[in-house]
Symmetry: C2
Subunit: 400 residues, 2 copies
């Protein structure tokens, strides 16, 4: 009989439990929240930019016009008008999405969990870009896959590195094509096409996770992978980065023949996402404050990104390189290989600057000399002085 | 390689997906919502009694006093003041609960999913009362256990039927000891003690699911199983039945040495439960409207229960028996064995009365001659005429 039996435990635990880990990153983020720390560590929207007044108005209206619908049990698939609004919005920017293909989830994290549950057996091959989003690794790991990393460069993951047996055998390929967490990179248009072709030719399910796609500052939006291969892509969206993470409202768009199983998994998980938060997302969409708020975020975040890029030019030693994000929240620094990012992290933390060592963002075989920086929550002045401090620490480390 | 491969599917699905089913009950409930139907089918709070005005006030206050905390990412364990309030409330009525032992979940359904994920491997033995709550069967089934049913009578599940190997080998035992869904029965005090002793003596994890315990109409509250065996019981509570199901806020209370893994599973599932809905539950507790609203529900539901019991006395044929609930939302009818409840269900539906055939509420080996009735959503007049109609249908079936 399979089971997980850690020394000293009196419980008979499921084998998969041995794969579950506590996110060290979340512990780190708690420290980074100290008011004396300049934090580039979080992946949070700026607290100063949360649209709380607009959400307060919307809440009042929801309870006045639809109290019973909001507070009673609802359908597992999600609030119908929200599914319609999401389908309409996505259809206006890419290929057609039908409301019946939209499943509202309790944050994007739940979409990852549902997909993993429906698709991954112990030992299943899962193709995942490297580096990648930590939350996806956590969600998938519970179901004990065998991860196969797909290398990436400045133009995102490299489809030509995938072997024929990989694309035929894998249960899914996971990617964040827009302003990826952690690198801030975009998948190049040509590679989107290559990936879409591989996906269609092999029924390789591509999980296109797109929480940052709306936050585009330069170069315009690129076509989604789903718009190139709607029949073999599951698209994931989120209201966490534009509206508010605390709402826990995300969604997935899936091919018709996957939807029934995903809805069953959703039903067994939490019956449905909260009525109140789904309606907040809906009204934000419909009365236009989502769009106006997004515009505001784009102005602020792009300025902060620009300041971080300028500061890096000023203060970084030769041999240090970094990504040049055209959107999103993150920027990725690669240190000369003789440096260990975790040493830089410790020294920076002591100097009052929080960054995240890049090793956290690999499903397997972490790289030792990378750092993730977010430019969304620090002020412009903090960004300048924080990058200056970080530059000095790296310079000192290189001299040792 | 394990996988689920239904005919015609082009996806490589996880083996567990074969265990997932759509809840036929939920489909049935949609039909039962037609305005011309007298519905005893739902498990819903009465829409007329949802405290929407109080929730509207609370929402306003939450956004005015703690907008950033509400809308930003929060801890996976839950909103600290809510965990403290739950611990305090439970400690005042049973044995001590520490806030660190409380995990806030996205409805009770998520608590069942997290427990299943952490505890159940393919083939693991799971002891489950018969009949039992359908949502628990759905949550557990995903992880492919071997269910072993524990028979019950008017005093709840019968611990003396458990063999020594069962209590030693099972990953968990699942029970709803108070006004169980579907039967409305309570587990007798003596059986609670027996179960607590078995649990402590064998480290048999008892999952005590208690969504209806507050809704007590007669005979006062009984000690929780957790209060008799806090070291080996996971206690599940919910705000769905008293406040509002659409909030999706529940909680579990677990022994310290299970909590870390449950929190990791929670983190991978949806990071945390929505900030808004957790704060609604907290304020409802703290400013006293939870208690006053509960008093109102108890008056109304106990009246409706009484009317249903009186109507059954008047209109049921000899040989039909039923439970006499002292709380909760449900009542359980046992028909003479020559009748099939699904025939009665169809005839009742044609006559405009919705009930649920009891066969839905078994993990294995369903019983054919039982019905679940809810007395919470129909009016008193509807209860009388609905039971009269049902009585006639049963009488006619017995004559055939």
């Amino acid at each position: 009989m399979d089971r997980y039996n850690p020394p000293g435990s009196r419980w008979k635990l499921a084998k998969r439990t041995g794969q579950m880990t506590h996110s060290a990153l979340r512990e780190l983020l708690k420290v980074a929240e100290r008011p004396d720390v300049i934090s580039f560590a979080g992946g949070l929207p700026s607290p100063a930019l949360l649209p709380s007044d607009r959400i307060k108005e919307v809440l009042k209206r929801i309870l006045e016009t639809d109290a019973v619908g909001t507070l009673q049990y609802g359908p597992s698939e999600g609030y119908t008008p929200l599914r319609e609004a999401i389908a309409e919005q996505l259809s206006s920017t890419g290929s057609t999405v039908y409301p019946s293909q939209v499943l509202v989830t309790t944050g994007s994290q739940q979409a990852l969990d549902l997909l993993a549950r429906v698709l991954i057996d112990e030992g299943s091959k899962v193709l995942i870009e490297a580096p990648t989003y930590l939350g996806a690794v956590q969600a998938f790991s519970q179901y004990e896959p065998q991860f196969e990393q797909v290398k990436s460069d400045d133009a995102g993951l490299i489809p030509s590195l995938l072997s024929q047996s990989q694309v035929q055998e894998a249960r899914l390929l996971y990617t964040q094509p827009n302003f990826q967490n952690p690198t801030g990179r975009r998948l190049a248009p040509e590679r989107r096409r290559q990936l879409a072709e591989l996906s269609l030719a092999n029924n390789l399910l591509v999980v296109e996770d797109d929480p940052y796609g709306d936050l585009v500052y330069k170069g315009g939006a690129l076509p989604s992978i789903r718009s190139l291969a709607s029949d073999t892509v599951v698209y994931l969206g989120s209201f966490s980065k534009i509206l508010a993470p605390g709402l826990r409202v995300g969604y997935l768009v899936a091919p018709d023949d996957l939807m029934a199983k995903l809805v069953q998994a959703k039903q067994a998980s939490d019956l449905h996402t909260a009525g109140i938060t789904q309606r907040v997302a809906y009204h934000a969409f419909r009365n236009g404050f989502f769009a106006s708020h997004l515009d505001e975020l784009k102005v602020r975040y792009s300025e902060q990104c620009e300041i971080m890029l300028q500061s890096l030019e000023l203060f970084m030693s030769p041999g240090v390189t970094w990504s040049r994000p055209e959107g999103g929240m993150f920027l990725w620094i690669t240190l000369p290989t003789q440096l260990d990012a975790s040493d830089v992290f410790v020294a920076a933390m002591q100097a009052g600057v929080a960054v995240v060592p890049g090793a956290a963002f690999y499903a397997t075989e972490p790289q030792h000399n990378t750092l993730r920086l977010s430019f969304t929550t620090a002020t412009s002045a903090q960004i300048r002085s924080g990058i200056e401090l970080l530059g000095r620490i790296i310079e000192a480390s290189l001299r040792q």
